[in-house]
């Protein structure tokens, strides 16, 4: 077989963080090539390099497509050659029809007037190809996610597609829709269209892929020819997570005390789809001085769990009981949650955590201005003293506390957010992806802060998609999947493989349960 795509020695870094290191990746004509790896392993970055989102010159290495070296300036260049990427977040316009969406950029037209008959006819043909029977003038918003995904594929087919890239296409699909979509991929393969499938669902990958490549920390660590070898999930999981963990985490002797935070029967519904349970009767407990990790894939419900506890900042129809320090508390608003002694460091510090235009001082004191004010009047000197204090304690690197927060590096911004929450003097801190997007040095400092908090007798809950960090920092690790805890490991017995297996196994069990129901 001949290679349609060859990526040679691709490296890419972001502000000092190496996202891809010398990656070689080959797709043969008419092949389904699966790309697997942990969150942050570099899969999406690699695909962005390939599709021209990161233009030539932004990365090292070369891309050979159809036997020629290509230097894409933007996504239009790669699309012109038939490399079409379908992102996890669909790029459809909800209030336009299927036909309008499919022919959004280049509708068949003469003199600028859209030829509606041709659009309609061609849309019908394309929909037939992806197995949809909807009318072309149906609004996209009236379709389910699975069918929207297929519309995206039809849109790709409206262009001359040679290589189709699907980024977790089945993440939000149910069993039947997933199966339908994978069947499409097999049908395309028969027509000679190659595809790259990024997926966390190993059973799917094993079903359709001709070759599986595993990325880890931006390197290709394994590549399995599914024709020649049998696919062992354990081997894939081992390759995905196997890493040296020594010396990356500061040591701490855990002094775990009485339960400080107890949750019983916590149930949360989706704010838009009010009948959908997102968190399903969850029980949860943190003790003084304990660091509890929550592992899981994106979309497992970890952030929703934390945010719904934090004054119902997420979700509708929230129910369940909560005790702090043995006393039942009512967390009906964010202010009440803060007063009760809860803090939540958001996953997205720029959108949800900080006021980037405001200075460091104002961000630090934002959640507890009452502590530096008398009768509603801010004592600016005492505010300055407190802010400078945190700046020194947390080693926030800024020219002074009057510097705009947006000018700081990611790690220092995160320390500002942490300072804000430490100033509220919480009993329990939820840290949602506290080290996302910050460099290794700053990560180490954040781990040290977490240790100090635990030593000070606070309960710390860390949500993270980076398993090594959970293993390195936490005393106990819970695994969340589909809105419920499906596994629990003490630090001593936890390994990345066991956690990953708990996540994956459960996906399989879901599937079997679903099939069982369908047979009934």
């Amino acid at each position: 077989m001949t290679a349609i795509l060859e990526m040679r020695g691709v490296s890419k870094s972001f502000a000092g963080v190496q996202a891809l290191r010398d990656v070689n990746f080959t797709v043969e004509a008419g092949q389904i090539h699966a790309l697997v790896g942990e969150n942050g392993a570099g899969k999406s970055t690699l695909m962005k390099v390939l599709s021209g989102v990161y233009p030539h010159g932004d990365y090292e290495g070369s891309i050979i497509f159809d036997g020629e070296e290509r230097r894409f300036r933007d996504i239009n260049d790669s699309e012109a050659l038939g490399i079409i990427i379908i992102h996890q977040e669909l790029a459809l316009i909800p209030l336009m029809s299927i036909a309008e969406n499919i022919f959004l950029s280049h509708p068949p037209s003469s003199l600028g007037v859209i030829d509606r008959d041709t659009v309609y006819r061609r849309t019908q043909e394309l929909l037939a190809q992806v197995g949809l029977t909807e009318m072309p003038d149906t609004l996209v918003t009236d379709l389910g996610v699975g069918k929207q995904q297929l519309v995206e594929i039809a849109k790709a087919l409206s262009k001359r597609v040679r290589l189709l890239i699907l980024d977790e296409p089945t993440a939000s699909l149910n069993e039947n829709d997933s199966a339908a979509l994978l069947d499409r991929l097999l049908a395309f393969r028969a027509q000679g269209i190659a595809s790259i499938l990024i997926s966390h669902k190993l059973s799917e990958v094993a079903r359709v892929a001709d070759r599986i490549t595993v990325l880890r920390d931006g390197r290709t660590v394994d590549s399995i020819d599914c024709r020649a070898e049998t696919v062992e999930e354990d081997r894939i999981i081992r390759s995905m997570v196997n890493r040296d963990l020594a010396h990356r985490f500061p040591q701490r002797t855990a002094k775990i005390g009485a339960p400080v935070f107890t949750v019983k029967d916590w149930t949360v519904h989706h704010p838009l789809h009010r009948d959908r349970r997102v968190i399903k009767s969850v029980d949860f407990e943190v003790r003084r001085g304990e660091v509890v990790g929550i592992a899981g894939l994106m979309g497992a419900g970890r952030t929703e769990f934390a945010m719904s506890l934090f004054g119902r900042a997420w979700g509708e129809r929230v129910s369940g009981r909560v005790w702090l320090d043995g006393r039942e508390v009512n967390l009906s608003s964010v202010a009440a949650a803060i007063d009760a002694g809860l803090a939540y460091v958001t996953e997205d510090r720029k959108e949800l955590g900080l006021i980037l235009d405001a200075d460091v001082r104002k961000n630090i004191t934002l959640a507890s201005l009452g502590r530096v004010a008398r009768q509603g009047v801010i004592d600016d000197m005492s505010e300055l003293r407190v802010a400078s204090d945190y700046r020194n304690r947390m080693r926030i690197r800024c020219s002074d506390v009057y510097q705009q927060t947006g000018q700081l590096s990611g790690g220092n911004q995160q320390k500002v957010v942490l300072s804000k929450w430490l100033m509220t003097d919480p009993k329990v801190l939820f840290l949602d992806e506290p080290t996302r997007g910050i460099d290794v040095g700053a990560k180490y400092e954040i781990y040290c802060i977490i240790n100090e908090l635990a030593e000070a007798g606070k309960g710390v809950v860390m949500i993270s998609s980076e398993m090594p960090e959970l293993l390195g920092v936490c005393d106990r690790i819970l695994v969340m999947n589909d809105g419920a805890f499906v596994g629990e490991f003490a630090a001593a017995e936890a390994t990345q493989e066991r956690i990953m297996r708990a996540i994956m196994r459960n996906k399989e069990m879901d599937k079997k349960a679903l099939q069982g129901e369908l047979q009934l």
Binding site: V334, L354, I355, L366, M381, L384, D400
Partner: protein, 393 residues
């Protein structure tokens, strides 16, 4: 505890850093100087200066409320209509039903608060864009003013009410020739108080190791501030003394300046505009606060409507038309950001004064109302462009 490592930059660097803070003030002075020369000194004649204050008082009063609205990331297009409507309510109460002045005054402020609450409710709790809600309000209250006045002008007001706009503070030492010494004295006291408090705050900051302006710069600044206030107080005092409205206005400016810079509620308002979601995740009640800024705007629009009605001594169905444009322009010229989170009370006041001086100066020069609008529009665009350019740099 505190950090004493803040280095003092050179004086030149300091002045350059702070030029932007004073840029708006300097433009105001430049514009005043320009019209002073062009009108052969008419602009700063005591009579004209007093008129300038009276003409612009209602714009300044509304700009204070509008600034808070804009800082939270919203807009209020209805203020002109609300001011006109409240003026009409005042006329109906006082002229037609002979309600006592203080009672009618309070009733009108309450009407303003209710209007603000009604609009703020939709904006804050129903998340309907403020542009749409207040556009609706603009139509509604314009129509209601027309309706309750039955399309006619209603007046005149009782003389006590007229004093709100046309009155001057009582003279304690009468008979001192053409000068009104009480007003001059108040001006001088104000100037001394301002210089004293800024000196005190400078000393306090220095004692905490904060970078303060160089001493020479501080002395020069204080001297200029002192001279300007005393100079204007002198001008005002040589006509008929301090207008009542100027006293109200100054008190409100001081109050809103204090609230925005020094209080928890002020900080929270800026936080909402800076990042509403982060603010709400920090325990700030964003909805309630947004609601309250609209209530506040309603009260200030009502006060402005009363001042305007008292000045004209009659309520007309057309009163207040187009005020919202001057008020919004004043805030943006004064450096407020249309994206929210940024803006100062001082800026909005200076912005209102720039608009006022231009209106007044161009009228004296005989520029027609047509080109006055063209020029004001261009100044607004220019000021905002300059601000955006400065921020990109």
């Amino acid at each position: 505890m505190t950090d004493k490592t803040v280095a003092l930059p050179g004086h030149a660097g300091f002045i350059k850093n702070n030029l932007r803070n004073y840029g708006m003030l300097l433009s105001l002075f430049a514009i005043m100087l320009f019209f002073q020369v062009m009108t052969d000194g008419t602009l700063l004649q005591p009579l004209n200066l007093t008129n300038l204050v009276l003409q612009n008082s209602y714009i300044v009063i509304m700009a204070l409320g509008m600034l808070l609205i804009i800082v939270t990331g919203h807009i209020d297009l209805s203020v002109g209509s609300v001011a006109g409507f409240v003026g009409a309510v005042a006329a109906v109460l006082m002229v037609r039903y002979h309600v006592a002045y203080p009672l009618a005054f309070i009733a009108c402020l309450l009407v303003g608060a209710l209007i603000g609450a009604a609009q703020g409710y939709w904006v804050a709790y129903f998340k309907i864009p403020s542009f749409i809600v207040t556009l609706a309000g603009m139509l509604v209250f314009k129509g209601l003013a027309l309706a309750i006045l039955a399309g006619q002008s209603v007046g005149p007001f009782p003389p006590t009410f007229q004093k709100l706009s046309s009155g001057f503070i009582p003279e304690l030492f009468p008979g001192a020739g053409t000068l009104y010494p009480t007003s001059l004295l108040i001006g001088a006291v104000l100037a001394v108080a301002l210089v004293y408090t800024s000196a005190k705050s400078r000393a306090r900051q220095a004692s905490h190791g904060i970078e303060v302006e160089p001493f020479g710069f501080f002395v020069a600044k204080s001297a200029v501030l002192f001279a300007v206030i005393v100079f204007f107080a002198g001008l005002i005092a040589s006509h008929r003394g301090l207008p009542n409205v100027l006293v109200i206005m100054t008190a409100l400016i001081a109050l809103y300046g204090f609230v925005t810079t020094r209080t928890v509620i002020g900080r929270h308002i800026y936080a909402i505009g800076g990042n509403a979601r982060a603010a709400s995740l920090s325990g700030i009640k964003t909805e309630r606060l947004t609601f309250l800024t609209f209530v506040n705007m309603g009260v200030l629009a009502a006060l402005a409507g009363l001042v305007f009605a008292a000045r004209l001594n009659t309520a007309t169905p057309k009163a207040g038309a187009g005020f919202e444009l001057d008020v919004i322009a004043a805030c943006f010229i004064g450096g407020a950001s249309a994206y929210g989170g940024v803006g100062k009370v001082g800026g909005a006041v200076i912005g209102a004064m720039i608009m006022g001086v231009m209106n007044n100066g161009m009228s004296i020069l005989g520029v027609g109302i047509d080109y006055q609008q063209v020029i004001k529009g261009l100044v607004l665009l220019g000021a905002v462009c300059l601000d955006v350019y400065n921020q990109r740099r």
